[in-house]
Amino acid sequence: MNTLPSISHETTLFAEPIFYYKNFTFTNALLSSWLAVLLIIILAVILRKKLREVPKGLQNIFEIIVEGALDLCDQVTSSRTLSLKVFPIAISVFFFVLINNWFGLLPLGGLGLLEKSKEGLAFVPFLRGGTADVNTTIALAILAVLGANLFGIFSIGLWKIFNKYVNLKALGQIFTKIKNDKTVIIVAPLTFFVGLLELVGEFAKVASLSFRLFGNVFAGEVLLVSMATIIAYILPIPFIFLEILVGVIQALIFSMLLVVYFTISATDHNEHEKREEQMSVSV
């Protein structure tokens, strides 16, 4: 009698391919992030069709969420006009990340393919939380940082954003200000160097933003699997509640940092200094 070969249920660091179309590889993380997009579209269409003055049912829930989120956004940007501009992209990112985080927790992860590998059969689930793949989170982080800089260009101008990183203005001040203030010859090169550091900081933002999200979601999945191997079905339950909470918190952190980056790049630092000077004069 044939014995069944053992099946390994290891959670891999990278998303596993499910099927191929010509040269394009479809991974399970890609599939579930598309499903998340589909879910968001369906929800949006349903909400749009049943929109009414006096909210009812589903619209009620979403109005509470959106209103609370807009208040939170106001606390960060400290101006309603600015937060109304940033809010649509932040809340879309929030819902996308949230639904992707929760997709990894669904018991549907039990459905999948059996794939032959070197060490016998390996189990490949159809659904893997989209944010548990580092490609998705890096894409989102690049979108956030690039978007913040573009937003800054449109709101305070290309020249000011360029001077934030390659500070030609500070170097130019050596010639204009040297008559009144001798210290500028030391200060201006320093400000120029700080600007270059800020350029490195943009890449650090991408790295920290993407690895925070990826690490948290991926570690959650590994935690659930390893708890299930100790005592199946019972022990993972409290950790599933923990992971639901972590999913919300990480989505919140990601979108809040996005709002913070957008706000920072939309505020004009020189104007701020001028205002402070005026304030000190008036005091």
């Binding site: 948290n216 991926f218 570690a219």
Partner: protein
């Protein structure tokens, strides 16, 4: 070499968890202190505290990702 890589995994997450552990402890302690001083502010303190905890926790998660990627 096999044993050494297992050791490396253990060390990566073990050493990486020390800092965030201290950090989360400090965050919790300060939040308790704040609630003790002003019990009415509990609701205001809770959400920023959770956010700060998640930031501190993320550093341990970096170590965990490194520990998983050691072959």
């Amino acid at each position: 070499m096999e044993e050494l890589s297992t050791l490396a995994k253990g060390l990566a997450i073990g050493l990486g968890a020390i800092g965030p552990g201290i950090g989360i402890g400090l965050i919790g302690a300060k939040a308790m202190e704040a609630i003790g001083r002003n019990p009415e502010a509990t609701n205001k303190i809770l959400v920023p505290m959770l956010l700060a905890c998640a930031f501190a926790e993320a550093i341990a998660i970096y170590a965990l990702v490194i520990a998983f990627s050691i072959k």
